[in-house]
């Protein structure tokens, strides 16, 4: 476990004391004594960062928050989602008693703070103990959250990295736009998932960050499918041309010269997913939907898998993976609630929160896996 302590007095006892307060067997504490050293160190990934506000003589003569060394370092950490420590929990350690300073740091992404008691404003005994208890609890809580954040961020980063290399997302302006939307949804989903939940949100407003984040991550599939589809499948005003062709020239929907339409659909037969082409004529009930391109997302995804998977085995395993996620998505209360839930269960069920988080991971891993196949 690696911790970065950014404090000009780190070697005056703070490092040694923290090692004793938190005696994890594998704890390694790196120190940065000034802004230059901190900016170097933050290129390495840490599990937790402890950040002081004032790191030099000038900071102590300064009243502007944006001029504090600690603030500048925080902005450097948080100025890009892909920064190595963007997702690393940060505890501000400060002697400030000014609530507006703490708020300013909060706005730029610290997760918690510990007040270093100062001779000028001393806590009473109980407050001092509470300050310490909070520090301990926050330390542990943030390590836990940090592990989760790292997982989600790690997969998101891989997705971004893959999309940046796949030429399908670079070939035209529309593709660039798709790419940008995927990145924004990743960041939005990350934010929603790890946004601190206020008590009122939990108890009164019944928010469920995990479910909302899942929906956002799930919706990336829309962009993903369109990103690997030839954009001339739709005209300038969004009307379907009649042919849905992927960028590898595989068809999903093909208008035939005889006026029929051929669709490649996936079906589950004998526990295996198979892909088959079906020709529909005007008399078939689904003809109109396909000729207009009105296809639900899950079918689009199956078809994308069919179009890009190299072999049946890979197609089958990815389809099964998607089926599980899709089934979950159909039951998530924020999209389609099932009958039992509507009539018998609360909207927010504590036991579901973990499952919602797991499926956030699953859907991102699925997307990552699809990009691997496409690449």
């Amino acid at each position: 476990m690696k911790l970065l302590l950014i404090d000009d007095k780190a070697n005056n006892g703070w490092k040694q004391l923290l090692e004793k307060v938190f005696p994890f067997n594998d704890l390694i504490i790196d120190v940065a004594l000034n802004i230059e050293s901190a900016n170097e160190k933050i290129q390495i990934k840490y599990d937790l960062i402890l950040l002081d506000v004032r790191l030099n003589f000038n900071d102590h003569n300064n009243n502007k928050i944006e001029e504090f060394s600690g603030f500048k370092i925080l902005k450097n950490i948080k100025n890009d989602f892909l920064n190595r420590n963007f997702n690393t929990p940060i505890i501000l350690i400060t002697a400030t008693n000014k609530i507006w300073n703490l708020e300013a740091f909060r706005k730029f992404g610290i997760d918690s703070y510990y007040i270093k008691e100062h001779p000028d404003f001393i806590f009473d005994r109980d407050s001092s103990r509470q300050n310490f208890m909070n520090f301990k609890n926050e330390f542990i809580r943030l390590l836990d959250i940090g592990a989760n954040r790292n997982q989600i961020w790690g997969i998101s980063k891989e997705i971004i990295s893959k999309i940046n290399t796949i030429h399908y997302f670079k070939d035209e302006k529309k593709s660039e736009n798709v790419k940008s939307r995927i990145f924004d949804k990743l960041k939005l989903g990350y934010h929603v998932l790890f946004k601190e939940q206020l008590q009122i949100e939990k108890e009164i407003l019944k928010t469920n960050n995990e479910a909302l984040a899942f929906i956002i991550f799930w919706s990336i599939l829309e962009e993903l499918v369109k990103g690997v589809t030839l954009s001339n499948s739709w005209n300038l005003i969004g009307e379907f041309s009649g042919n849905w062709k992927f960028k590898n020239n595989e068809y999903f929907i093909e208008s035939l010269s005889n006026g029929n339409v051929k669709i490649n659909i996936s079906k589950k037969q004998n526990n295996q997913f198979v892909n088959q082409g079906i020709e529909l004529s005007k008399e078939d009930k689904d003809f109109t939907n396909y000729i207009r391109g009105h296809v639900n997302l899950s079918e689009q995804v199956y078809s994308m898998l069919a179009g890009y998977c190299q072999d049946n085995s890979s197609f089958n395993s990815k389809s099964l993976e998607f089926r599980k996620i899709n089934k979950f998505r159909n039951n998530v209360d924020f999209i389609h609630s099932n009958i039992k839930s509507i009539y018998e269960e609360d909207l927010i069920r504590q036991k579901d929160l973990e499952e919602h988080y797991e499926y956030c991971v699953k859907v991102l891993e699925f997307i990552n896996g699809v990009l691997e196949i496409i690449n």
Binding site: M1, K9, N11, N12, G13, W14, K15, Q16, L17, K20, V21, F22, P23, F24, N25, D26, F57, H60, A95, K116, E117, H118, P119, D120, I122, R125, S128, R129, N131, F132, K136, N137, I140, R141, D144, A147, N148, Q151, E354, Y357, E358, V361
Partner: protein, 405 residues
């Protein structure tokens, strides 16, 4: 000419030394705020001339070194005192927030920041009248105070009366300077000598040497001792005794004096006399007798923080001291709450533990007390849980409640 070398303008302003005042006395005193102000060799040569006085804040060169790492600055500092030997009438006076006593040895002196700035105007005004007697700097408007106190002390020693048949069974300790014959006349006190070393660490050493183990019923200390009698070190000594963990920490203290309250009322440690079981008494045998006859309610540890809180000590106003004391205090407080012995932290600046300000803080906030048992147990439990092998991350939330007892 007086050269005032101090990087902190705010400190000067606090004591009224603004640009206007420096301008008014520009023929007598020149402020220097940065090393660059005195970099010029010609200027420096002028500064290091006979009959000049140089006041230097002790941390001035530390700050410069930290910012610039200039070999020239290092050499300059090291050669500073050599210059004094070269010029017999050149005086160098160091001042700092961590200096408590006023001392001058030959041409090198030491004075506290507050005393320097409080008396600087008096000193400079007298310099206008061609009177650059440093006693005005050390003692303010009464430069003869040391001589007066010396005379009073001699007189008091000569007038010590002997009283027969004083039988006290109590076990008492009397600190005395070598010049005092008092206690041997009438009382069977244990005696310990106080010498000229009066900085906090010296007095701490004295306390640990003489008060740590053997328990006394009463402690007597002189108000005036050390090189500079008008430092009234007895007040600070009494404060240190109260703030140092020894067997005698809470015992009654009688500060014997040949001057009255009017001399000491403005002293930073005067309020120690307002605390329980610390008294100012006359330097007379009868006063000692009356002190020993007092029926006193014992001071308790519960009362100590409130009592010692009657003193209001200023945070030392040197940058390094202020910042480092805040750092040390924050560290100490965290270690205390975590039930970790500060001596287990080798990088902790233990010198600060000797400073009266730091000791006063600890005492005032009850940090010498043991933590309640349940908190110690909780801390131990927490650390034991943390030391267990780390679980492999499964993607599921870790149950944090297991870290709380």
């Amino acid at each position: 000419m007086i050269y005032l070398i101090d990087d902190k303008k705010e400190r000067q302003l606090k004591f009224g030394w603004n640009n206007e005042l420096f301008e008014k006395f520009k023929n007598l005193i020149l402020p220097i705020w940065t090393y660059n102000d005195m970099k010029d060799i010609g200027f420096r040569k002028q500064m290091f001339s006979d009959n000049n006085i140089i006041f230097i804040h002790e941390s001035f060169f530390n700050i410069e070194i930290n910012q610039q790492s200039n070999k020239d600055i290092v050499d300059f500092r090291e050669n500073l005192e050599n210059k004094v030997k070269e010029f017999q009438n050149l005086k160098i006076i160091y001042f700092s927030g961590s200096i408590n006593s006023t001392i001058i040895n030959d041409n090198i002196g030491y004075i506290s920041v507050s005393k320097l700035y409080k008396n600087l105007l008096t000193f400079v005004t007298n310099c206008v009248n061609a009177n650059s007697n440093l006693d005005y700097l050390f003692h303010g408007k009464n430069p003869n105070i040391e001589r007066e106190l010396g005379q009073k002390m001699t007189l008091a020693n000569n007038e010590i009366e002997k009283i027969e048949n004083l039988n006290f069974t109590s076990n008492n300790l009397c600190f005395k300077t070598a010049k005092s014959p008092l206690t041997t006349y009438s009382f069977n006190f244990k005696e310990k000598n106080l010498f000229n070393k009066t900085e906090d660490e010296d007095l701490n050493e004295k306390i640990l040497e003489d008060l740590k183990n053997e328990e006394f019923d009463n402690i007597f200390i002189p108000l005036c001792f050390g090189v500079t009698l008008s430092d009234y070190n007895g007040l600070r000594f009494a404060t240190l005794i109260r703030c140092t963990k020894t067997t005698n920490q809470l015992k009654p203290i009688f500060i014997y004096s040949f001057v009255g309250y009017e001399n000491i009322i403005n002293d930073e440690y005067f309020n120690i006399l307002k605390t329980k079981n610390i008294f100012l008494i006359d330097y007379k045998t009868i006063a000692f007798k009356e002190a020993l006859e007092k029926k006193l309610e014992e001071l308790t540890f519960d009362e100590l923080p409130k009592e010692i809180g009657k003193l209001k000590l200023e945070v030392p106003d040197d940058y390094e001291d202020n910042h480092s004391i805040a750092n040390e205090y924050g560290l100490y407080q965290l270690a205390y709450n975590a039930n970790i012995d500060i001596e287990e932290i080798p990088d902790f600046n233990n010198e600060k533990m000797n400073s009266i300000y730091f000791k006063w803080l600890i005492c005032k906030n009850g940090l010498y007390e043991e933590l309640p048992t349940e908190i110690i147990e909780e801390n131990n439990f927490f650390r034991a849980e943390i030391k267990k092998p780390k679980l492999t991350f499964t993607g599921k939330k870790i149950d944090l409640s297991k870290f709380n007892k």
